[in-house]
């Protein structure tokens, strides 16, 4: 081992207090860098998840749905109701200029009665055209959703045998979705024909919802519209509202904008906070290095007397800093994972933020980046501190009594 490495390691071991102090600063630095970026990335991903789940450009529901809530409620709160549009209205909407695809959804609110296992909101969607439910389900379940298959939200209690009963019929639970903190967690999702059949069996029962005389085999509760390239979404939405009286259309953008504005504000604040703490700990690092190296002037003088060059002194300081800061940063990373484990559990609900943790690979890269940032910060600080001291003449360094 070279002398510089040897004496660096011995210095660290023989001055545990000094080493731990410096290590703590590196730890603080790495916790800030890591948790700060983790939070910002998670919020960004959560927001993207929201947008992706929205999928479509325009949502149309019947005017009769007014009493049950707005389009916002369907989307963001996952609150649905039993309201339906007949086929002829759907055709009219589809005929509006600028519409590329129309995906139907069929809502059914199950009764809390002997007929049904639990009171839930059932949503039927069309797997071929769907752009709002599938992308979200895909995180949890990648298989096909066949006849009588259902996917349930996190609040719906999972039966032991994997079978839920609605209106006298049994359905197979294929997957349970992650928590979103919204009414979507109370949902049950299945393909269109399964839900239509559910509605059919309901219509014969006393606990049945009223279907307003619509033909359940062709009706839909909501239409999710994708607008053609080159058409203005707002104009298409206005067109629908003006020309078709029995429905209300709303653009997806108008629904998420207030949420995304809020989220961007929060993630910006976290980012700024992280940068501020980061700058503070770098300043702290510089101050502590300056103070610590002050008491080491004589030691440096002695090394110079023995023939060490300025370059060797900077090397020794840098090696010490590198070892200590890496230990500190690794500890910091370890500590950072405690709140992260919390976040993926209870925190998300308490904060009511769409918090989606980064992929494992991103986390790994974040860890690496954190180590590099805190390592570089302390090594550079150490290097320049040593340079500053070494610039003083040895004859003067030796005069500094310790």
């Amino acid at each position: 081992m070279s002398f510089a490495w040897d004496i660096s390691i011995k210095n660290i071991k023989r001055k545990p207090f000094r080493s731990v102090m410096m290590g703590l600063i590196s730890m603080l630095l790495s916790i800030t860098v890591f948790l700060g970026s983790f939070a910002v990335i998670s919020l960004k991903r959560g927001l993207e998840g929201y947008k992706a789940r929205l999928g479509s450009d325009i949502v149309v529901i019947p005017s009769s749905a007014k009493g049950h809530g707005s389009v916002d409620d369907i989307y963001l709160q996952g609150i649905t109701g039993n309201y339906y549009m007949p086929q002829n209205i759907i055709d009219k909407v589809s005929a509006i200029n600028g519409i590329e695809t129309v995906s139907r959804q069929f809502f059914l609110t199950s009764a809390k009665a002997s007929c049904c296992s639990q009171r839930v909101q059932i949503t039927g969607f069309d797997p071929d055209t769907d752009i709002s439910v599938l992308p979200w389900i895909k995180d949890e379940y990648n298989g096909s959703i066949g006849e009588d298959d259902i996917i349930i939200g996190s609040e719906v209690s999972m039966p032991d045998n994997g079978i839920l009963k609605f209106y006298g019929r049994n359905y197979n639970v294929k997957a349970q979705l992650d928590r979103t903190g919204t009414g979507l967690d109370n949902g049950v999702y299945a393909n269109m024909s399964t839900v239509r059949r559910m509605a059919e069996s309901a219509s014969g029962l006393s606990a049945s919802p009223s279907f307003d005389g619509v033909d359940i085999n062709t009706a839909a509760s909501a239409l999710f519209i994708k607008v053609k390239e080159g058409y203005d979404i707002d104009e298409v939405s206005d067109d629908i509202n003006i020309h078709i009286t029995k429905v209300q259309a709303q653009t997806a953008k108008s629904m998420v904008s207030h949420i995304s504005d809020g989220l961007e504000g929060i993630s910006g604040m976290i980012g700024i906070l992280a940068v501020v703490i980061w700058i503070l700990s770098v300043v702290l690092l510089i101050v502590v290095f300056a103070l610590l190296s002050n008491e080491r002037k004589k030691e440096f003088g002695v090394l110079r007397v023995m023939g060490a060059s300025n370059r060797m002194l900077s090397g020794i300081m840098s090696i010490e800093a590198a070892i200590i800061s890496l230990c500190g940063a690794v500890t910091g990373l370890g500590i950072s994972f405690v709140p992260i484990a919390e976040f993926s559990g209870g925190m998300r609900e308490k904060l009511e933020l769409p918090f989606l943790s980064p992929e494992p690979l991103t986390i790994l890269l974040l860890c690496l980046g954190t180590l590099i940032i805190s390592g570089t910060a302390s090594v550079l600080t150490a290097f320049f501190t040593a340079r500053r001291i070494a610039a003083r003449e040895t004859g003067l360094l030796l005069r500094e009594e310790t």
């Binding site: 002398f3 040897d6 004496i7 011995k10 210095n11 071991k13 023989r14 001055k15 004589k298 030691e299 003088g301 002695v302 090394l303 110079r304 007397v305 023995m306 023939g307 060490a308 060059s309 300025n310 370059r311 060797m312 003449e393 040895t394 004859g395 003067l396 030796l398 009594e401």
Partner: protein
């Protein structure tokens, strides 16, 4: 090899009457010869340490040049100057200068490891034996007494077998026994060919020198 000083002086910035600087060493010519133990005496503050620091390549003179052999040691780069000091000059600084993270043996070996080159553990054992500190080899330097520390730093200065030895008050506040031991070693180094320069306040130590110079108010009187 000899050290030759050519009109070196040192001024420090220090507010005084009428001037902004203080002359610690007036322009001085001086040669340190091989085979000789040269002593410098003088009152405290007369500039002895300042002078020998300039001679050992640790303090840049305000004017003048210092030659080691033919090499102007303040003309070359820091790395080269460090290398020269490492391999040719053994410096015993004033006061206690053990590196606290290292044991006595590691301290003594440090200059040879800084310099690079072969392992000198055997030489270190020999020197420790000569200085009577063999039993302290594995002790950390801050656990030593004053006399033991001083003997360690002398062994450390000699580890690379330097041609030039510069000692700043090597026997201050030591007892007679230690003084005799240390001066015996320095004398032996001079007798075997080294150029030895020693600053001292001690009459007994001065008795070992071939020549005594006096420093007075920054002036070296021969």
């Amino acid at each position: 090899m000899e050290i030759r000083a050519d009109g070196i002086s040192k001024k420090f910035f220090r507010k005084g009457r009428g001037t902004n600087y203080f002359t610690a060493v007036e322009p001085t010519d001086f040669t340190l010869y091989s085979n000789k133990l040269t002593g410098i005496m003088g009152r405290s503050g007369s500039g002895k340490t300042t002078l020998i620091n300039m001679l050992s390549g640790l303090l840049v003179p305000s004017e003048g040049k210092v030659y080691l052999g033919n090499c102007d040691i303040y003309e070359v780069s820091d790395i080269e100057r460090s290398q020269l000091r490492c391999s040719h000059i053994g410096v015993i600084p004033q006061g206690y200068t053990g590196l606290q993270s290292l044991t006595v043996l590691e301290n003594i070996l440090a200059p040879s490891r800084i310099c690079g080159g072969e392992d000198r553990t055997e030489k270190a054992m020999e020197l420790m034996d000569k200085m009577g500190i063999t039993h302290l080899a594995q002790v950390y330097s801050n656990e030593l007494s004053g006399g033991e520390q001083r003997r360690m730093s002398i062994a450390r200065a000699l580890i690379n077998s330097p041609h030039i030895i510069i000692a700043d008050e090597p026997t201050s506040d030591l007892d007679e026994e230690n003084t005799v031991l240390i001066m015996g070693v320095l004398r032996e180094m001079a007798d075997t060919g080294a150029a030895v320069l020693m600053v001292t306040h001690d009459k007994q130590a001065a008795g070992y020198a071939d020549a005594i110079l006096t420093m007075d108010n920054g002036r070296l009187i021969t």
